[in-house]
Amino acid sequence: MSNIDPIPLPYGPLQYYHLHYILQIKSNDNNNFLARCKPITKGYFHSKRIMGVKWTGGHNFVQVLQADDALTGMLKEVMLKVGEITIDPQDDHIRIYGKWVHEENLAFDSVMFEIADRIALHIKNIVQKKD
């Protein structure tokens, strides 16, 4: 019988992973791209359905994202699994990520990649317009 440690170490890597989609862009307005997307749901457990998505964050940027119907359609597909999408800008790059994923469920999601790619396209367009 194996000996179970009665006092396990309170630190060390956990079995949870985060996948960050990174867009390298340097502009003075990077901070304006701070946003988060949450689903609007109906029902509970097996009957839970996504009715829509709600973006919160920088006013102009959020309006652009909310107006994109193709993006909303893709988000409705994955939001039940992903939970929420965060756009986290930094000085010279912008990170787009969802929730932590357990290592059992860690796999590449092509729809999530398309969503991140489309958000990156909107960011690039906004920066180009301002320049």
Binding site: P13, L19, H93, R95, A120
Partner: protein
């Protein structure tokens, strides 16, 4: 003691000779060696991306300056403080430039 050792060795050699003979008879010697390459997590991810027709390349760990910067702006509450970088994948021909894999501590 030495005699016993010699005897054992002789027996083992005889056994291995027999096995060699057997394998030659049945053609076991023709099998190509199986090479197993261990992939790290971000390399596996890159392989999955390639299967989805996305041009990408798994970079060596710690080779890009973006891996030495902060991973979270800490603007949002519940942003983690301690994470481990598990690798960076460079994307070609898309608006996204990199995909980074982080492990929670």
């Amino acid at each position: 003691m030495g005699f016993v050792e010699h005897k054992n060795h002789h027996f083992a050699q005889a056994k291995s000779n027999k096995e060699e003979q057997k394998s030659e008879e049945h053609g076991y010697g023709d099998i190509d060696p199986v090479i197993v390459r261990k992939l790290s997590t971000h390399e596996k991810l890159a392989e999955e991306m390639k299967q989805s027709q996305i041009g990408c390349e798994a970079l060596p760990l710690g080779s890009h300056p973006i891996e030495r910067k902060q991973y979270y702006s800490q603007t949002f509450s519940m942003s983690p403080k301690f994470v481990t970088n598990k690798g960076l994948v460079k994307i070609r021909g898309k608006n996204i430039d990199f995909v980074q894999l982080l492990q929670r501590n």
